[in-house]
Each structure stands twice: as structure tokens, then as C-alpha cells.
């Protein structure tokens, strides 16, 4: 009996440590705390729906479909910038720094009057294990946050951006060169 309990405790500890080792991304609660109102657009594509999108795409783009199969989820949240709490830009920069501390690498960082764009990727060998896009756009009065969780073929990032309509993601080929 004791052996069984110990084995169970060991397995639980192992799974907990694996979860802790996983570099964190943006949680919905973290983002919601930055604004007084709920997001005006929220999209969560995960699980069987992502599998379905992959299969629907397979006929025309089998490689892209294979990559979609390797994703765990695509999450988009867009807020009205006028509902931001004080210090939004600083808090977003802090998010960016915390991603860097967790091993994420900067793919794009644009700081222009009226617009801040951050794109981060989590490299793992020849592939990426995650991608985060944060856009604060004063011109369009919107703040957009996109998280793509799972294995991403770097060659397919632009295609991914166009498929899911992710702002700035289809420009990344130019940025990487």
C-alpha cells in the first residue's frame, strides 16, 4: 500500500515539476487585469477544432496541416485600448522581459509613436515551441495579444499569421532576414 502511495506521490511530483519547467506564456487572467472591460474579441482554437482546421487545410497544404496538428492551441484576445488601466505599456514591457527570462527570444520588437509590437518565440532545436504576439496600437485604439502554443515550423509562421489573421505575423519573414 505504502509503495503504491509513494509511487503516486512520485508521479504527481514529476508532473508538477514538468508543469513548472514549462516556460509560462500569457494567461487570460493576467491580460484581463490590464483592462477595465472584457476583451472585445476573444478566439480560442484548440483541441478537436484545431484538428478539424488541420484536416480541412490538408487537401491544399499538407505541410501546413501537419504543423497545425502539432499545435495545442491558438488564442487571441483583443481589447479596446481606451479601457486600459494606468501603466499598460510598462506592464506589457514587463511581460516581455519575463518571457525573455523564461527563455523566449525576441523575433520582432517595434516601438514607434502610437504603436508597440512585440513578437516572441520559444525555440527548441530547429522548431519553435510557442509564439506570443503583443500589439498596442493607439491609431486603431486596440491592444491585441496572441498566443500560439505547440510545435511551430519557423518556415510556416507567415502562413500561420495569414490563416489566423494574426497582426504583424506575416511580416516576420522580412524581419528575420
Amino acid at each position: 500500500m505504502n509503495t503504491r502511495v509513494l509511487t503516486l506521490a512520485f508521479l504527481l511530483a514529476l508532473s508538477a515539476s514538468a508543469a513548472l519547467a514549462q516556460p509560462r506564456s500569457l494567461s487570460p487572467a493576467q491580460l484581463d487585469a490590464l483592462f477595465t472591460d472584457e476583451p472585445r474579441i476573444e478566439v480560442n482554437v484548440a483541441g478537436p477544432l484545431l484538428g478539424m482546421v488541420a484536416e480541412l487545410t490538408r487537401r491544399d497544404e499538407p505541410q501546413f496541416a501537419d504543423m497545425l496538428r502539432g499545435l495545442r492551441g491558438v488564442y487571441v484576445r483583443q481589447y479596446d485600448l481606451s479601457t486600459a488601466r494606468a501603466g499598460l505599456t510598462g506592464r506589457v514591457s514587463e511581460f516581455a522581459r519575463s518571457l525573455e527570462r523564461d527563455g523566449w527570444q525576441t523575433l520582432v520588437r517595434v516601438r514607434e509613436p502610437g504603436e508597440n509590437v512585440f513578437i516572441y518565440v520559444l525555440p527548441s532545436g530547429n522548431v519553435l515551441n510557442g509564439l506570443v504576439v503583443m500589439v498596442l496600437d493607439e491609431n486603431d485604439n486596440e491592444a491585441t495579444f496572441v498566443t500560439i502554443d505547440g510545435r511551430i515550423d519557423p518556415a510556416q509562421i507567415g502562413r500561420l499569421g495569414r490563416q489566423f489573421n494574426v497582426p504583424h505575423l506575416d511580416d516576420t519573414r522580412a524581419a528575420r532576414r
Partner: protein, 197 residues
Amino acid sequence: MALRILSLAALLLGAPLLTGCASTEMRSVRNDLARQMPAADIRDGRTFSFGAVSIGFARLVTGLVGEDAAPARMILRDVRRVKVGRFDVAGPVDADRVRMPARLRRYVERDGWMHLVTFRQDGEAGWVLYRARGERITDLFVTVLSGDELVLARISGNLSEIAFTLLEHADVRMPFFGEALSTDDEAAVDEAALSED
């Protein structure tokens, strides 16, 4: 014998109307939104529920139409139930602040539904939820609230198969959140990226 055939025909013809009874689920969503927006007037609308008999009847009709209706017949084969509600709305609708109705939240938190989309834009608000069994999407619930109407729709069946059927017969490239580019467009994007170097 003739009477039995006539009765059956009447039952089949009347089925879509007889099943147009009020749906508690739809009214619950409507009432929740009405409570959230006391200044707006969400009126008593109509809700319809189409089950096996109505859908079977529709399939029968599409079977009589001929080959033109073949895609519709194939889609109907995978539909198990459809519920639709429409309510007139008058008065101010604050789409930016309206929250997901409690019944839908309960579906997500307790009943295994997944939250696909929320939108609040241009005076409209909406929610799309779905439910899956294994790899198959089995239910879809769409709520759209605008300044003049509230529309609710719930469809159950093998929705993954319906999506494949639509794609196969409509001969379109994958239309999801972004429009897929043609090969020529992809090449143009690559060329533009190179020219920026």
C-alpha cells in the same frame, strides 16, 4: 390504407411547424441579456426546434428534388437537431459591456462546451461555443446580439463531417479567420519581403 398514407403525409408536412415550440434554453439566454440591458427592449420572439422527424422530412424533400440537392442531402444526413431563436430588439444596446449569458458560461464551466469566439464590435456582440466528442465536433451554439435583433442558433450532429462536405462541394480553399492566399499571392508576399532587405 389511403387514410394512413394521408395521415403520414400530414405528419411529415406538419412536423416542421409542430416542433416550433418555445425552447427554454433560448429563452433563458434571451432573458439573461434582457436583464443585463434594462434600457433595451428584447421582445418576445420565436424559437424553433427541428429534430429527427423534421430533418428526416427535409432529407426526403431534397431526395425528390434530384441531384442538385445532393450536397444539401449529405449535410442533412449529419444534422441531428437544429434550434433557432430570433427576437426583435429596440432601444440602446451596449454591446461593449454585455457579458456572456450565465447559461452559456455554465455550458463552458460545467458541461464540457468550449468557448470558441467572443466579439463585441460595431454595436454587435456575440458568442460561439462548441462541444466535441473525441475528434468530432458535435454541437455548435451561436449567439449574435445587434441593435435590432437577437439571433440564437444551436446545431447538433456530426459537424466535422458537415464542414468537410461543405468544403468538398463548395470547392473553396480553407476559409477560417484569415483568408488563405493563392499561390500567386504567396509568391508576391515573398517577393515583397525580399525587396525590403
